[in-house]
Structure formats: structure tokens, C-alpha cells
Symmetry: C2
Subunit: 198 residues, 2 copies
DNA sequence: GCTCTGACTGACTAGTCAGTCAGCTAGGTA
DNA sequence: TACCTAGCTGACTGACTAGTCAGTCAGAGC
């Protein structure tokens, strides 16, 4: 935190979570970080640069937080469940991370520079899920008849879709969590009596 | 189309599909519609009004188009499949409709006035899916053990999630369509030999 | 003490954009 | 004919914003 540049990036993330990526103003970020707006241009060439680096900063931080949240769970199935439930939780930090991610996602539709970044972290998210499912199969908790790639992509899609509904407030956290656990059970053909959460 | 107001709304939708909701400029809309920017203020009080009415206009139009696309399909299961596949298709018109919907969705996160509108059309979309699943059960193509509400919400979420991936170009149309058909089969417990598309 | 440098600021500029306003025009009415 | 009104426009304005720039200041090195 001693680092000014990092402080500015964190302030930027807070502003994006509050106002949206397009609603981000250099003046607002400067006020949030307690510095002059000229300093922002000292560390970042343009507003677009600041935005992009803030997105990447948030992405790395969210990855680390997710990693940390699942490491000490013994089974792969348990880690998968926890991973997919993280962003459905009521924890404000994860809500902001998720909102940042959605903003990055949709900004990338109109900005090719961002699109590359999004594709990369999107792929790593999917790989992480797929890796856990493969581990779970090795541990014997996932039937061999499951098509792992299909299951992975559909699970990722369900979580994304429900996450969006959470942001707009059309669904509750508990309901989303139930539906995600059910989706994992369905996709991986897990018997009802083995579906308890880790 | 004779109606100027409608012409302006359609122009607005085209601009949103091209530049995003936040990227919408009154001047751009005016040029797109071939009128003066002052005329926009003659029909719509503010930019926010224009945006909101354009979203609602697009929503109604998309509903009608979807309705029209499924009416002449004989079975409820077939209508459900077609309905959920529409926005995964490569058809540019539906891509724009879908993009508009995503823009409306994410704008509503930061704008309470829009949120109400989004909740309403979101609910009607979910109800439409649920209605078709209930019809399919009456027609005997869906097992009685399926929890219809869970299946509905998860199917809606999968379609939303895959739709987002389509917009950002992280998945192909064909792949998305396959995954959606698979999700319908899984959620409704449809035997593999009865899964052919309508 | 002197000089140099990196971090930082206040004041400014050039440009953009939503919204306003006075007024034009064609078609209808008295 | 004179008058009215709906539809429409060009020119304008005030608010806002990204980015620039000259200059301040504390501390490191000599």
C-alpha cells in the first residue's frame, strides 16, 4: 500500500465499482485517492491506460483471493463448489470484484485492446474449473460418462448468468447458491446423497 | 416507420448496438436518423429519456420477433429449444437485440429507474421459459421428477452466460447452440434419443 | 552549501456535449 | 386574406472533462 501507483489503482477500482467504467472521471479518482488529477497523468498516460491497468490489477487480486479461499479444502469437489459459490456470496468484496469483472467484460465489447485481456482471464477461469473437475474425477467423485468440457463451459455460463442476476437484484444470494450447487450436481452426475457442500 | 418518433428510436437502437449505451451521443443519433439534434429534444425531454424509451422499444420488438419465430412449431419442447437458441444464432438482428439487452442490463446496475424496467422484462422472459417447460411436461416429454423452477432459472442463466461469451467472442455460435441443447436435455432429463432439435 | 531529481500540485486550455431558443415553413382554419 | 400551430432547424451556451505545463518541494549525493 505504500506504493502510490497501487493506491491509485485501488482507488480507481473503488470508483468503477461505484460509478461504472464509463462513469469513471479522472477528477473522481484523484479525490478518492487524495491526490491531484495531474498525478494520475504522471503515473498513467491516459484515462484508458488507467482503466486497463485497474482492470488487470483487480483481476490478479481476485484470482489470489479465490485461490486463497479454496486451498485448504481437502477434496477437489469441495474446492470446485467453493470456487463457484464465491461470487454468489453476499461478501461485499467479492461483489465488487465481480462487478469489476462484468464492467471489464462489457467494455471489451467496444474496445479491442481490452478484449484480449478479457479473453485471457476468461480462459484461465475456465481452465481452473476444468482442472478441478478432472481432479474430482481422479478422486472418484465424478462419473466417467460426463463430458468434462461441456460440463465446464455450462457451469461457467450458469455462474456468469446467475452472477448478472445478482448484480441487478433479480435473485437472492441463497437462491443463487442453491442453483449453482444443483447445477454442479446435475452436470457432474453426482448422486443426491453426496451433494453436501464442503 | 412513417412515424418520426419511431424512426428516432430505431436510430438510437442502432447507435447503442454500435457504440454502447454510455457511448451514445445525441449528435450521433441525430445524424443516424437524418434530423437535427434539436428535434431529439422535441420528442424526448432528455438523453436519459431517449435511452430508456429506446430500450423499451427494443424490448417489445425483440419479444414480438421471438414470439413470431416459435409460433408454428408443433411441440412445446421444440418451441423451448428454438426460443433458447435464438440469441445464440448468428443472425445479426438477434445479436443486436441481445447486445441492447445486455447494455440495458448493465446500465440498470447504476440507474434505479432502468432497474425496474429490467426486472419486469427479465421476469417475463423467465415466465415464458417456465410456461413452455410446463407445457412440455403436459405433453409428456418432461419427466415428473424435474423441479421446474430450478430448471427454468438455470436454463435462463446458462443462456445468459453463453450469450455474454458470444458477445465477447470467446465462443462460437455452433458451440453455444450445442451447449444450450445439452443443458435443456440435462435439466429436463430428456433421454438422448429424444433430443433432436425441432 | 549547492545541485539535481523524482514526486507532486494549481491553474489553465482545448474540446465535447446536452440542452435552449428564436425563428422558419407548410398545411389547416376562420 | 390573415392567423395559427405542429414539426423542424441552425446557432448558440454553459457545464464539464482529459490532458498540459510551469513551477514547488523534500531529500539524496557530492
Amino acid at each position: 500500500m505504500a506504493d502510490r501507483k497501487t493506491e491509485i489503482l485501488e482507488a480507481t477500482c473503488r470508483v468503477i465499482a461505484r460509478e461504472g467504467a464509463d462513469g469513471l472521471r479522472m477528477g473522481t479518482v484523484a479525490r478518492e485517492a487524495g491526490v491531484s488529477s495531474a498525478l494520475l497523468h504522471y503515473y498513467f498516460d491516459t484515462r484508458a491506460d488507467l482503466l486497463m491497468q485497474a482492470f488487470e490489477h483487480a483481476d490478479v487480486k481476485a484470482d489470489e483471493a479465490a485461490e486463497q479461499a479454496i486451498t485448504d479444502i481437502p477434496t477437489a469437489l469441495g474446492r470446485l463448489q467453493r470456487l463457484l459459490l464465491i461470487y454468489a456470496g453476499a461478501d461485499a468484496v467479492f461483489r465488487d470484484d465481480w462487478l469489476l469483472w462484468v464492467e471489464m467484460w462489457r467494455s471489451s465489447i467496444f474496445d479491442e485492446r481490452l478484449a484480449e485481456s478479457v479473453r485471457r482471464s476468461s480462459a484461465s477461469w475456465v481452465e481452473q474449473i476444468q482442472g478441478l473437475i478432472e481432479q474430482a474425477r481422479e478422486e472418484g467423485s465424478v462419473s466417467a460418462e460426463v463430458n468434462i468440457e461441456d460440463a465446464t463451459q455450462r457451469l461457467a455460463a450458469v455462474v456468469d448468468g446467475l452472477g448478472l442476476q445478482l448484480l441487478t437484484g433479480t435473485i437472492t444470494h441463497d437462491r443463487a447458491a442453491d442453483l449453482i450447487l444443483g447445477a454442479i450436481g446435475n452436470e457432474l452426475r453426482i448422486p443426491l446423497d453426496a451433494r453436501s457442500t464442503a
